[in-house]
Amino acid sequence: MGPEHWLYTIPLRLRSLFRWAQADQELDDELRDHLERKTQEYVAQGMTQEEAHRRARLDLEGIEQTKEKCRDARRVNWIQDFMQDLRYGLRMLRKSPGFTAAAILTLALGIGANSAIFSMVNALVLRPLPVDTPNEVASLASQPHGFGSSNGFSYPDFEDIRDQTTSVFRDMTGMQPSHMDGFSMNDQSQPIWMSYVTTNFFQVIGISPALGTFFQPSDGRIDGSDPVLVLSYTFWKNHVGGDPNIVGRSASINGRSVTIIGVTPEGFGGVYSIMDTQGYLPVGMATATLDSPKDFLTNRRVGNIEILGRLKPGMKVGQAQPILAIVARRLSAQYPEIHKWDWLQAFPGGPLNAAPQDAAVIESMAAFFLLLVGLVLVLACMNVANLLLVRAAARQGEMAVRAAFGAGRGRLARQLLTESLLLAALGCGGGIVVGVAASRSVNSINFASAIPVVFNVTFDWRVLAYAVGAALLTGVLVGVTPAVRAARGNLNPLLHESSRTATGRRQRARSVLVVAELSGSMMLLIIAGLFVRSLQSVEHSDLGFDPDHVLNLTISPTDAGYDEPQASQFLKEFLQRARVLPGVESASLAATIPMGYYNYGDELKIEGYETPPGQQQPIAGYNAVSAEYFRSVRIPLIRGRDFLDSDDRTSQYVAVVNEEMARRYWPNQDPIGRHFTTRNDSTHPIQVIGIAKNSRTQHLTGSFRPFFYRPFAQHYLTPVTLQLRTALPEATAFHQAVDLIHSLAPAMPVFDVQTMTQALDTLNGLLLYKVGAALTASLGTLGLLLGLVGVYGVVSYAATQRTHEIGIRMALGAARSSVLKMILRQGLIVTATGVLVGALLAGAIGRLARDLLAGVSPMDPLTYACASGLLAAVSLLACYIPARRAMRVDPMVALRYE
């Protein structure tokens, strides 16, 4: 259709849209004019005035119907209808505020819970990396034979892989995993979460600086050269005051002076989805500011470089796999003593995606919680659908009148659907408010860490789309049944139903609705119970040490510019003074704390132990600790001796091993006095001097792994945690300790200051269990509430519908108590069915949660019993209240009713 067409039609459409009243008036005039003339004509043919008028009207086939057809002929009608429906819907909602409030609140809770959970999933799984064209970016992982897959590579391997895959990858960047360093500027020190990257990092991810420049290709070629630092926007803004003239200023990282050359753009938090990388140095600087081996740029045996590649335009990740497989084979053939790679693959997205096991766990967790919260939405929908059905029954009269006034069946259905969508829209608005509040509370989770964990749960367009989608679906789902009924237009069954007897079919449908609601609530309750029990179980599990009354203060002497001898001197002095502080029972040092974000491990060569063929070399975790450590954390020594202040670099290297290590590597022997060496330091044989009881180090669950302790004075590590066991109140003790540190070293930054109990609330520790329990408990409560409201609504409506029947029964001599019993018995049957069905379904989805639970079986009988009892009690209460009301019915009133 040409422009000429629009020239005519647009003004018409606009007119019918905005001058609606006038257009309608004209239609009225036109038809009245026609009627009058037609009547005159019939009169002229000899009819009486009355007869003529009747005939003219008949010819028009009903004035109102014809008018409606004429309105239909105007295309924009649907907009008008919609506006009209909307106005009408709003009026209806205003007229019954109780119903409206209940429906909107229910939907808001359902949609809010959904968008909150979805926003977490979005933050963890869906949101793409904050880089240019994120779908071109992929990260690499390899599968060394006999080990778990790994996304860490040596620097020479990185260079080989980069150079041999140029046919599919435009470029590749390598990154040392982030590391906590000390940042000092203007005599102020603070921790900084640093990434050491190849100089093409920013080109590969494709961002430009907010201030200054990024690295030059020549930076960082020579290890330890080019001390140039790029800061993240948030670090620049929040930690160094957002100074616009920061470029060119000097600062220091771990005591080594660097020049700040640029700031990343706002909103860029690095390529790890939940950790905010705060600063970047060229990878060559890792030897200067970290304890990386001096030769890590050339040594193929060491290094933990993560590789991020940018595919050539139009290339798919799948096209890279065959090329990577060839490279893997080539490198494995070239360095057979180093590499035995089963595969080398690219994974779309950032380095976290290249850890397939972790990604799979996160995805299945996400799916599980979406399932649970979807269930909440279904419950909310059922409640609102039920409310709407009840109302639809009450509105039959109104519908009949509207039909008589020329409204088509479809039009009536549309009206009802508009009303339910209006409810859904209002519910969606409320849901977004609920969702934002809920995700705020998720954002405020304390991760017990100086590492900038940003669980950045925000409402971006994805979450908004999800919420609106959920609302739309809800609106259609809850509106469709009443709408279809209206469209089917057979008002007779509706009329019949509302009269004397409810038909058996309706009754059954209502029972099915109640059973469905109850089983949904039951599933949510059981899952909540399982998670709460799981949390209790890990909280009360035997850690193998005693976290009470222990304070942790983490410092990094390197950040204050201390080298090892200076730091040792400082730590020695600190311990001496701390031990005589009032209230302090013991003071010690440790390189790592249990469930912390640092841990160390090494491959061992054990005297007298042959690695059985086909098994991997012995690997053990370790901690470097000072004398009195075992007293501070109360890990019992089973045999042998504790470390002494005299165990230092000049004496025999020694270790205390845990029971598991003793059992595994010296079976049926006495390990004390035996020796082993570590791969990192094969020149100093370590003598076993004691055996400690097994204790939890990295995981709260699972079997114990081989672990050993070595004297801090023989194995210096930084940062280091000072531990005090003290009888004083926390706050006083912290104050005391921080004062002592600063009296000895005024510029020493103290990172984490927390009790050992707080320190357990980490991602490795209790945090996930606590978050899981809190989430499922909220969903369970919501489910119980919705179930209660649903059952109450259905039962009380059914009771009202049966008022007449109950009246007859009572008039015929039924006792009040037997009426009560009748309604309660039905409630009981429905409740029992709901609980049973819910329990069966919970058994099925509980299995999905098996990996997320600790110390409790997914079929935990106590949980099932408690959930059943609670739900049954609540459900019977919801039945009892309307039953009592029905029982009070006066037979005379009931019979006269209607």
């Binding site: 067409h5 005519y8 018409l12 036109e30 004019d33 037609k38 014809t66 057809k69 004429c70 002929a73």
Partner: protein, 111 residues
């Protein structure tokens, strides 16, 4: 919208356009003319006529104007637009082709 059953789909539009091509007239006059011309063969009820006129107006083929009629009363007069004239030609062409094709078929001799 219900259509008179004895009119081929779309022909009512063509007839209305043709009438209005002869002279602008109001709805009542169109209904009279329909009856006169077709000699009661084409039964178009008033209830179908007005929605059809409104549809044509909405399509931009005819345009309406309020004028004082010969009886001294305000009435709505419809007239053909340029677009409507083109549409009429198109439909008339189609109709010609269709009817000649059908009559050729009907005139086929039985063997």
């Amino acid at each position: 919208m219900s259509k008179p059953s004895d009119l081929v789909q779309g022909t009512l539009d063509m007839l209305l356009l043709k009438f209005l091509a002869l002279e602008p007239m109001n709805g009542f006059a169109v209904s009279q003319r329909l009856k006169q011309v077709s000699g009661d063969v084409l039964q178009v009820s008033d209830g179908s006529l007005y929605p059809a006129l409104h549809k044509l107006e909405q399509e931009g083929w005819i345009t309406a104007e309020w004028k004082t009629s010969e009886y001294g009363r305000r009435a709505k007069y419809y007239s053909l637009t340029r677009l409507g004239r083109r549409q009429l030609e198109k439909e008339a062409d189609n109709w010609g082709r269709l009817s000649s094709a059908i009559s050729r078929v009907i005139k086929l001799k039985e063997a």
